[in-house]
Symmetry: C2
Subunit: 214 residues, 2 copies
DNA sequence: AGACTACTGTTACCGTAAGTAACATGTAAG
DNA sequence: CTTACATGTTACTTACGGTAACAGTAGTCT
């Protein structure tokens, strides 16, 4: 019947879609965020128009690809955030999870941070704010939810939690980006340094002799 | 003589270069980070090859353009960081300076954060770490210097300061990016929330009733 | 069987952008 | 006047995102 037929077709299309995404994944892993639609189609053994039929445009493909990785990473982060342990330990575990992920697959991580590659004519309007980094935003919102849900922040807790969520995620990201490029220390050292920062060691530290206060 | 001649020519070339950069600035301000070389050349009243003779390639032009704004912003930030006031006040002033800058010219800020727009074939190599955001990196290093110079952090202070510098800058950037897109609160509120985060209010806050600790 | 539909796939093309080669022009030095 | 050089141009190549138009193949309806 129609329904079974439609289901079959849909299943087939979904399977194809998954195959295409896996091919795209391989190409992105190989070529970085600049991977071209032609290269992806070739890797999948087909030609461009099929990609466009499945994903609409490059942004669509990239969004679908990003969603896979983002979901996976967010799942791991949430697990670390929800583990049965003290707050500080959880924060450190979350930081470590993120850093381990970007360490394991830097190209993918790079791709996730710069998905809005901005085609020549596609994004004329320059809608400020729509250019954002989907992964960072999603992580920030997720963390904000957890913070608001678990931490007692008094009045204005929602707004404070969102600021902190995005701020902490940005801290993690920038520090991780820098660390990945220079590798100045072990991962654990970075994790401890960032946790110390979040735990207010900057305000607790004394001024250095010789200068005015900073 | 040769020298005066060379000087004259060089001065003329420098002046021209500055004019071209100003034209590029106007175009970027108008069209965002996707501004084309043709558009910039047209705005400057010339044609493409001249741009290429002056800046090598698009990356060169963008780097030169970014340097101008980055220098200006870093100057303002350093002034806020060096003002005669308490540490907390200085931190808040620095955050506010940055946020005011991105609020005033979001396109420029967008451009500075995504300069490696990645032309079709230009950036094949995908040198991990070389894709970074020059402005963020420079701000991070600058802040790290100031922290190490002024704050007594005990052993390993250099490494800790660098981690913190990049982390704090990333926090500022991500929170600012999110805030610019959603405008959920006044600038001063954002500044206070971020300063509170840096001052360890997250670790000081109690658990919310009902759940395990976060 | 034969026409109709729907899906998958192709080739060939358009528009635009980065970057370059080759040619033209003005101007000071010998 | 000729040489050297910087400045400027037009016209081209290459590559990419995206699309139109066409071809094959399977199931469905009459």
């Amino acid at each position: 019947m129609d329904t079974t037929q439609r289901t079959d077709q849909q299943r087939s299309a979904d399977r194809r879609r998954r195959e295409l995404l896996e091919a795209a994944d391989r190409v992105v892993l190989r070529d970085g965020p600049g991977a071209s639609m032609n290269a992806i189609a070739a890797e999948a053994g087909i030609t461009k128009p099929i990609l466009y039929r499945h994903f609409g445009d490059k942004g669509g493909l990239y969004a679908a690809l990003a969603k896979r990785h983002t979901d996976a990473l967010l799942g791991a982060l949430r697990a670390a955030l929800d583990a049965p342990a003290e707050r500080r330990e959880r924060v450190e575990a979350t930081l470590d999870t993120y850093l381990a992920a970007i360490e394991a697959r830097p190209q993918v991580y790079r791709f996730l941070m710069h998905p809005s590659e901005g085609g020549p004519q596609g994004d004329q309007g320059f809608d400020v704010g729509a250019y954002s980094f989907p992964l960072l935003r999603r992580m920030g919102e997720e963390l904000a939810d957890v913070i608001e849900e678990r931490v007692d922040l008094g009045p204005n807790s929602q707004q404070l939690a969102r600021v902190w969520g995005h701020g902490i995620v940005g801290m993690m990201h920038a520090a991780g980006d820098w660390w990945l490029g220079e590798r100045p220390c072990a991962r654990a050292d970075l994790v401890h340094a960032l946790a110390d920062l979040l735990w207010g060691r900057l305000s607790a530290a004394g001024d250095k002799a010789g200068g005015p206060s900073f």
